[in-house]
Point group: C2
Amino acid sequence: MQVSRRARAMQESPIRKLAPLSVEAKRRGIHVYHLNIGQPDLPTPPEFLHAVAHFSEPVLAYGPSDGLPALKDAVCEYFSRYRVHLRPNEVLITTGGSEAILFAFNVVADEGDEIIVPEPFYTNYNGYAQMANLRLVPVRTHAEDGFHLPPDEVLEGAISPRTRAFLLCSPNNPTGTVLTREELERVAALCQKHDLFLIADEVYKEFTYDGRVHTSALELPGMESRVIVVDSVSKRFSACGARVGALITRNPQVMAACLKLGQARLCPPTLEQLGAVAAYQLGEEYFAAVREEYQRRRDVLYDKLTAAPGIVLRKPRGAFYMIVKMQGIDDADELAAWFLRDFSYQGETVMVAPASGFYATPGAGRDEVRIAYVLEVPKLERAAEVFLAGLEQYRSLAPAATRQVR
Amino acid sequence: MQVSRRARAMQESPIRKLAPLSVEAKRRGIHVYHLNIGQPDLPTPPEFLHAVAHFSEPVLAYGPSDGLPALKDAVCEYFSRYRVHLRPNEVLITTGGSEAILFAFNVVADEGDEIIVPEPFYTNYNGYAQMANLRLVPVRTHAEDGFHLPPDEVLEGAISPRTRAFLLCSPNNPTGTVLTREELERVAALCQKHDLFLIADEVYKEFTYDGRVHTSALELPGMESRVIVVDSVSKRFSACGARVGALITRNPQVMAACLKLGQARLCPPTLEQLGAVAAYQLGEEYFAAVREEYQRRRDVLYDKLTAAPGIVLRKPRGAFYMIVKMQGIDDADELAAWFLRDFSYQGETVMVAPASGFYATPGAGRDEVRIAYVLEVPKLERAAEVFLAGLEQYRSLAPAATRQVR
């Protein structure tokens, strides 16, 4: 029995596919620093788990398809702290930000339609594009520009009669780039000119450094009917296992369509929505501490890496990732495998995510890796040293020995 | 900004669309018996909630995309009690049974392909068929036959070159029908003859009465590569709000494809998986008590309804629904609205689900409603009386007054 074409076409997670080599390295007694996955290590707020533990209904019943009213209210209150004023009927609670992406794709585009997305981009967009039978059209951004958007003519050149939306992620996974308000306005103008939606993945909104302020697509004037924001508690409250997110839009037609999709899957998980309600009561001091910690890590990693030769890296201003371009490397997939399979430095190695999986353009990103800084500063410093030692050694090896022909 | 064609084509939940009329009736002081929704009223096992409350990790992290290993093991152990022996790599934990349906649809069929399903059927299949851009092809079953499958030639007549699978739900929502082993074997033979998958929604497997035993599609010999089972803890443990289900298949290619879809959505909710692990430790006495309670309710409702004139109803053997066909009614949508809008009996009324929404064939089921028996026996007896009193009154009204032209 053959599975469907679309199932065969779907890529494996580039972040997870190296996992067996990592298991093998650990079995050989090598310590592996995980720089490959965006799983925050900071504790989930006790308030979250406390609220879950105090659930006292006799029946864990279906909740409303659009989410618990208390959580919708909490999301509105939360966004109002960021200059965005929402009504509860503009918020649909989803099963993680992932589901918000799936709903948005289905509602803005039909099969064969196109969504334009700057690359490199969050690799899971690909899985949802396959499921929704639509095509992600990449526009390249570059390490040398700090992965900021290309000029208008490049963005506009990607628009075809099948284009239905732009998809932006800021602060960005995998690059850490925070788009400026001016960049958002440029995309908004194109959306208005060509009658397109703007899907804005803002799940890292609090994670901005050096005093940078994240601009939400919901702040853009005249874009009320076009903007769909993807939101999540996963990174915000270090609660990735909760699977609680939100889709936010002021377009009632879009919301009605998303609600029909929401009814098909009945409801998001109830207990973890209760946890999220409690977490939203946390004040700004919670986020200030989180932000400070990540900024310190970003600084350590950035300083270490840019002190080494042959690294292209502009200081990222948000999220907890960076894309590191390495001169002299032409197959970062092989480099990442080599780190786990063939290398160790004083009994340690690193696991990084090859960047090729974050690009849709074949061959792009083969000299880049994504590094996530979800380790405490001393470990992160050490991991950077191990990474640079490996990179130096790898570069010094004869090409024939290191670079497999694929 | 216009939403996509598929979003516009998606039907609203027929179970939920009467909700505003119900709210309005309650505002007028009328007590509404909810016979319309499959939300079990039995308490969630305390073991479930206890396990959730005792989560003690500092970080609520992403779990594995295929589910927590302890839960996969628990599912295997549980199925072994039902003569089905599974290995953990044949089980993928999903976010509710709903997600298992979505994954199965995407993996067996490409856009435009067809899946054959006996109607009436669980209405949410429609939403997932829309999302997967495939076509559900109904084969009619009838109240007079107790909604059992039609002869082979009817089933086979529905097969086209685009057919990829049969989809069966047993015990059935919305009919309560439990397919016999012989019926399953007939469908299995057609799957083998025409090289089709068999998707079996078995989320009500424990809910069988009168000593009937549910046969799982996983028990069918020679069907290992074709069967995909949809499973859920929602009804099993009265835990609909948990959003924990499973997709089970012995076809490694199907499992690998589903796992890629699973990676795109990262993981199912962690805390509620922990609850499910604990619930699976419950012994057979838990289910015996649950089964006994639902059988008693089924008996009360069946006896009351079949004692009234003009009702076509064969005794359903499972789940907690029945489809009630009413002679002299030609628009049960209007009847259901009338119950909420215009009728009360000693200050009370009922909310039922018009069956038309469970049919894909236009015009089918307009003389039928689905009744769920998720109320305690005394309330259920009373609700049946109110329903029958209303039905009698409605039938006696002049047609012009009761039947709106649509």
